[in-house]
């Protein structure tokens, strides 16, 4: 084993040596859906990489999230996709690997810097091959307007009932919309509501694995409960929230018109720019005082190598750098709220980001429930979750109906759930 490792290292080193020459004028293009990050890549990350890797140029070429999958697939099929591909977690990227678009990078040294759960998002089911380097996870929770809380004399809620008490107080005061979330774009309902508070009820990983192995069903109470809580949220959401889209919610909150924003940590960067008030964050409230808290610490972004790249050495060099402690430090701080998955020690400077990453210590972590394996067939569980979660908000489905729809969709094709 040790011998093998050495060999691998030697091969990689050799690659580097020869690649170093070849890569003199290599240009790498990165495919990504994170258009918002353009400035950070251009101004911070790429210069840092290029400084340590002379001769390799990197070009960050994002596509808007709504078109990313379609455009990327078309480009991969047509052979024009970039050298490096930012990977969505689990099955989306797994399919790309199976079709031979993403290279097997199991032998990449840098992968050792990551814990297993992080690597799992970009491995085959049997963990035999890795195809993307984990970049970051995002943590779900609630960001609030601290000035408003102070003004109304309320504090971060710890339990569900405290949470609703806080919402009531804000509602009665009338200055602020209690919850900044809408159902128009649907995905927030699934992402920022159901998979945000759900782990608290289904005990995180335990509940997620139970669905995968077929020992639990979506119709079981622990999966229906979050819908019931969401149903109660509707009373505290903005007027006409049915037509309130994602950017509407962002504006509502950052303009100081809403008090609490159910969210993911990826918002921190943007909010820091836009909001003119103090912000705080709290994790999903628990049922009863003293219960274990669960957070969705979702492995969200990885990066892999296009098998069709003309510069595999340069691309591998870049991936090694992504896996390095330097990148972890740079990235986490350039994009507060995107937390590196690296084992390397890195400092989080942003206070809000600090607050959210600290939940990793207090709470149990899990990932979004539908992402691994469960969205492999048709109907797609994650698509379904968007629709039914929005339906619960819109009063178009009862929690029981919503859960039944999820279960019915899953049973239609997922064998472990079929008996």
């Amino acid at each position: 084993m040790k011998h093998m490792m050495k060999m691998t290292t030697a091969t990689v080193a050799l690659c580097f040596a020869s690649g170093g020459v070849l890569a003199q004028d290599a240009t790498l293009t990165i495919e990504s859906w994170r258009a918002e990050d353009q400035a950070i890549w251009d101004d911070v990350l790429i210069p840092a990489f290029e400084a340590s890797h002379p001769g390799i140029q990197v070009d960050f070429a994002p596509t808007a999230p709504t078109e990313y999958n379609a455009a990327l697939n078309a480009r991969l099929d047509g052979g024009t996709a970039g050298d490096l591909i930012v990977c969505r977690p689990f099955d989306g990227s797994l399919a790309l690997y199976q079709r031979g678009h993403l290279a097997d990078i199991s032998d990449l040294d840098g992968l050792d810097n990551f814990p297993d759960f992080a690597k799992a998002a970009w491995q085959t089911d049997d963990a035999s091959a890795s195809f993307c380097v984990p970049m970051a996870s995002v943590i779900h929770g609630f960001i609030y307007n601290a000035d408003a809380f102070a003004e109304l004399g309320i504090e971060e809620p710890g339990t569900v009932e405290e949470f609703f008490a806080v919402l009531d107080t804000i509602q009665q005061d009338g200055t602020y919309t209690p919850l900044a979330i809408g159902s128009a774009d649907q995905w927030e309902a699934a992402t920022m509501a159901y998979t945000n508070i759900g782990p608290t009820y289904w005990n995180g990983e335990e509940g997620r694995q139970a669905l995968i192995d077929g020992s639990a069903k979506f119709t079981d109470p622990q999966y229906v409960r979050p819908f019931e809580v969401m149903e109660r949220w509707a009373d505290y959401m903005g007027r006409a929230f049915q037509a309130q889209g994602y950017t509407d919610s962002q504006n509502l909150f950052t303009l100081g018109r809403a008090a609490i924003y159910p969210t993911g940590s990826w918002e921190i960067g943007g909010f820091n720019d836009q909001a003119f008030f103090e912000m705080g964050a709290f994790p999903p409230p628990v049922e009863a005082e003293g219960d274990t808290c669960y957070i969705s610490d979702h492995t969200d972004i990885g990066i892999g190598m296009n098998t069709a790249t003309d510069n595999p050495e340069a691309a591998r060099a870049f991936l090694e750098w992504i896996a390095s402690a330097e990148f972890a430090q740079l990235y986490t701080n350039a994009l507060p709220g995107f937390f590196s998955l690296s084992n390397a020690q890195f400092e989080v400077e942003d206070p809000l980001a600090q607050e959210m990453i600290s939940w990793r210590e207090e709470c149990e972590s899990t990932i979004r429930v539908a992402h691994q394996i469960l969205s492999r067939g048709e109907p797609n569980t994650w698509n379904n979750m968007w629709t039914v979660s929005a339906n619960v908000f819109n009063d178009a489905a009862t929690p029981a109906e919503a859960a039944a729809a999820l279960q019915q969709g899953l049973e239609a094709w997922y064998e472990p759930q079929q008996n």
């Binding site: 258009a35 918002e36 353009q38 400035a39 070009d59 070429a61 994002p62 596509t63 808007a64 999230p65 078109e67 455009a71 078309a74 480009r75 099929d77 047509g78 052979g79 024009t80 994602y246 950017t247 962002q250 504006n251 950052t254 303009l255 943007g270 836009q274």
Partner: protein, 290 residues
């Protein structure tokens, strides 16, 4: 002719009475407001800062709300000059090819009897029924083979293929109504079939060409999909794609978003104004008559 018609109408107009006139103008004015209000709203708000946009969306930009910050962001962040140049090159070239090749094909279909005439006519307008986007993957593979990815030529070719059916359809219909004598006369005068097309037919169909140009221009200028797939590189990006990505990048910065939207609207209006007079002439000459 025009004079006769308008006096006839003027006479009728007097007889019709004031109340009818008022009703006509009320309806037209009402709908015109509905049509342009949203556009004006966007342009108006693009000159405000973020707070101004939200606190008083319907107000004019005033002292404290007036701001060019949106435009500043757009102009410094995006390479809009390049995007514009790309859009214009693509749109104008594709239009040129659509009009030229479409008119040539329509001329052949309308002027000459030959076997397969009807069949080819049907074949050429079949494309109206199917969105060309369905063939994306094959198009991309084709472009890869031709080494045209990330070139403006790729876009030009696809848009030309996309625009031809409608152009051939409209132009053939119109060319069938052209006098045969004038082409025969040119033949007797010794012009080759090619020169007859360019020197006799093309001048005769100019207004109709303008009509086809306007109808073909809209989907080309506004297309998002093929620039994304075929030419998303920074050097070949079009305005619509640039604006769309800009919106993605500055979701919350509405002054910037509105400014970029305004920037995307203006050139189309300009091109439209350019073709507009000919468009009306073309339409009234029966170019788009069923």
């Amino acid at each position: 002719m025009t004079n006769i018609a308008s006096t006839g109408r003027a006479r009728a107009g007097r007889a019709r009475g004031l109340s009818t006139k008022a009703a006509v103008h009320t309806v037209l004015l009402g709908y015109t407001i509905i049509a342009i209000f949203p556009v004006i709203l966007v342009i108006l708000n693009s000159f405000k800062n973020r707070r101004g946009i939200f606190s008083d969306p319907l107000g004019l930009p005033r002292g404290e709300t007036f701001s060019m910050e949106g435009y500043a962001t757009v102009l410094t962040q995006g390479d809009f000059a390049t995007y514009f140049a790309n859009s214009i090159i693509v749109t104008v070239s594709a239009l040129f090819l659509i009009l030229l090749l479409g008119a040539m094909a329509a001329h052949a279909l309308a002027e000459y009897r030959f076997r397969l005439n009807t069949l080819l006519g049907i074949y050429l307008i079949l494309g109206i029924m199917v969105p060309i986007r369905l063939g994306t993957v094959a198009i991309l593979e084709l472009m890869v083979d031709l080494n045209l990815v990330n070139t403006l030529l790729a876009l030009i070719l696809v848009y030309t293929a996309q625009g031809l059916p409608v152009a051939v359809f409209i132009l053939t219909e119109f060319m069938r109504t052209l006098s045969r004598d004038i082409k025969d006369c040119a033949r007797v005068d010794g012009l080759s079939e090619y020169r007859i097309f360019f020197e006799v037919v093309v001048p005769l169909i100019r207004p109709v060409l303008a009509t086809v140009a306007v109808f073909s221009m809209i989907p080309i200028w506004n297309d998002l999909w093929f620039p994304l797939i075929l030419a998303s590189g920074d050097a070949t990006k079009t305005v619509t794609l640039g604006v769309q990505q800009f919106i993605g990048q500055y979701t919350v910065n509405w002054s910037a978003v509105l400014a970029s939207l305004s920037i995307a609207i203006l050139p189309v209006l300009g091109l439209y104004a350019l073709f507009s007079r000919q468009l009306i002439a073309g339409i009234t000459s029966g170019a788009v008559k069923g």
